[in-house]
Symmetry: C2
Amino acid sequence: MAAKGTTEDLTTRLLAGDRRALARAISLVEDNDPAGWELVKAIYPRTGNARVVGLTGAPGAGKSTLISAMTKAERARGNTIGVLSIDPSSPFTHGALLGDRIRLTEHFLDPGVFIRSMANRGALGGLAEAALQAALLIDAAGRDIVLLETVGVGQAEVDVINHADTVVLVLIPGSGDSIQALKAGIMEIPDVIVVNKADHPLTETMVREVRAVLALGPREGWVPPIVKTEAVHDKGIDELIEKLDEHRAYIEAEGTLVERRKRNLRSEVLAIATGRLRRDLEDRIEATPEFADLLEQVSQRKIDPASAASQILEDL
Amino acid sequence: MAAKGTTEDLTTRLLAGDRRALARAISLVEDNDPAGWELVKAIYPRTGNARVVGLTGAPGAGKSTLISAMTKAERARGNTIGVLSIDPSSPFTHGALLGDRIRLTEHFLDPGVFIRSMANRGALGGLAEAALQAALLIDAAGRDIVLLETVGVGQAEVDVINHADTVVLVLIPGSGDSIQALKAGIMEIPDVIVVNKADHPLTETMVREVRAVLALGPREGWVPPIVKTEAVHDKGIDELIEKLDEHRAYIEAEGTLVERRKRNLRSEVLAIATGRLRRDLEDRIEATPEFADLLEQVSQRKIDPASAASQILEDL
């Protein structure tokens, strides 16, 4: 754990926008170090200023290339950027996604760009919690825009993406899974839809399909625009930025931003509390020999899972 | 709630294999009726005999058609079947997936086939819990094989599919999202991989890609076979059934089945306990005006989410 003096110093430097202090603070949060939580507590009143944009889509859709292109465009407008990638790591293809990250290297030397990957290490709930705290730290460090990147599969990613002010779904032509998920209502309707790699012959088919799905949705309020991009050639990026600005202006004018943030913060509090309860429960089960017996009886089909759960909750 | 006498009668009829009793029992579980939990408790010692096969894959991969073809083949071998579809329902495309279900209608008149869809109604944790209880009910009703169908997106689906003895991933050629998810390690390596709609020109490309991903995995133990099917023409189904049998024989011989079920039941107990804690927490937050104040202060950036969560947990 960091000493108190160090934490105070870190807080001061982070609020001044120091990149190394920010990196250190995120590591503390990621390591579940109490000093990390103290830091977030200290800087929290200084958050809420950054525009948080979440990008989701299947692996291979080109999200990192898109983020790189967006970063370039936003830097040209004078905005500072923080990129947070929620990076699921595989037990046996460790580093498989590293290739994507390489596309961001052109920004490594720009002090106006902060890039961080957070890997899924064990508990999913833990990752979502840590990522949201990290987003608050980036916000407090004075970044104008926070870009959250997730692969959009798994509850942790969904939890994280729901905390963005604007959610962008990135699709590629010829890949039907995401659009099917959208159609089936598994995925919430995003605020902006990007069809990336738009030089693909099936681009217009994809755009038509997306439009058909959206036509089934509500007729009032914000209608998600479909933006065609070729991120690798910086094509369509200006239009994307324009649509993000429009969405921002819309949610500010309608009061939706305030409502959305209120709902998100409420669910964040609940998620943190539930996560702690669950870890506490697991620790106690681990530490109590009677519970091992109980679980063995479940295995032997003597006590059903729900009754065993009731008994554990009563005993605690 | 059902009266006690009714529950006992229902238990007897369910254990005798009565389809209507089974349908009623699942409804009780789905409605979170205490009589449903009582029923599961009563029948639990009679579970563990069915072979539970989980099928996962993106919407549109043809899972329902595949299940229909597998059902036909298994019925020809004299096995009785229970199909449980975890069916995410969309807020605005309600019934979009109904088309898939229609493929199962040819089995509606066969008493040896029981088919049930469970929709995602609100709480995800609740759906996974209910689905697992329903699977136990089908098992106790004496079905030889339980086929669990999920779309493989979202935590609830993942929770459910992990409870199968054998997990089948259904892919279609030309659709890269699932294979990318597999590659990135977001999805656990399934036991059997089906490339459905294998008349597609990109079939061999897909098979090669899958093989390349599997080559990165462990070299020992079960090597997931890749089966090409055209479910709509009953092609490849015999080979699929054969591979499922082989996997079954393998996990029985290696003791993996017992280990897997033990692990699954342990996580089911934990999931039920955690789900109850979470709902209890939400109810209490709802019922306590001080907590509404606290959440408002989080919105106003006066108290950070983690501190608010701590305070709620302390106060309870």
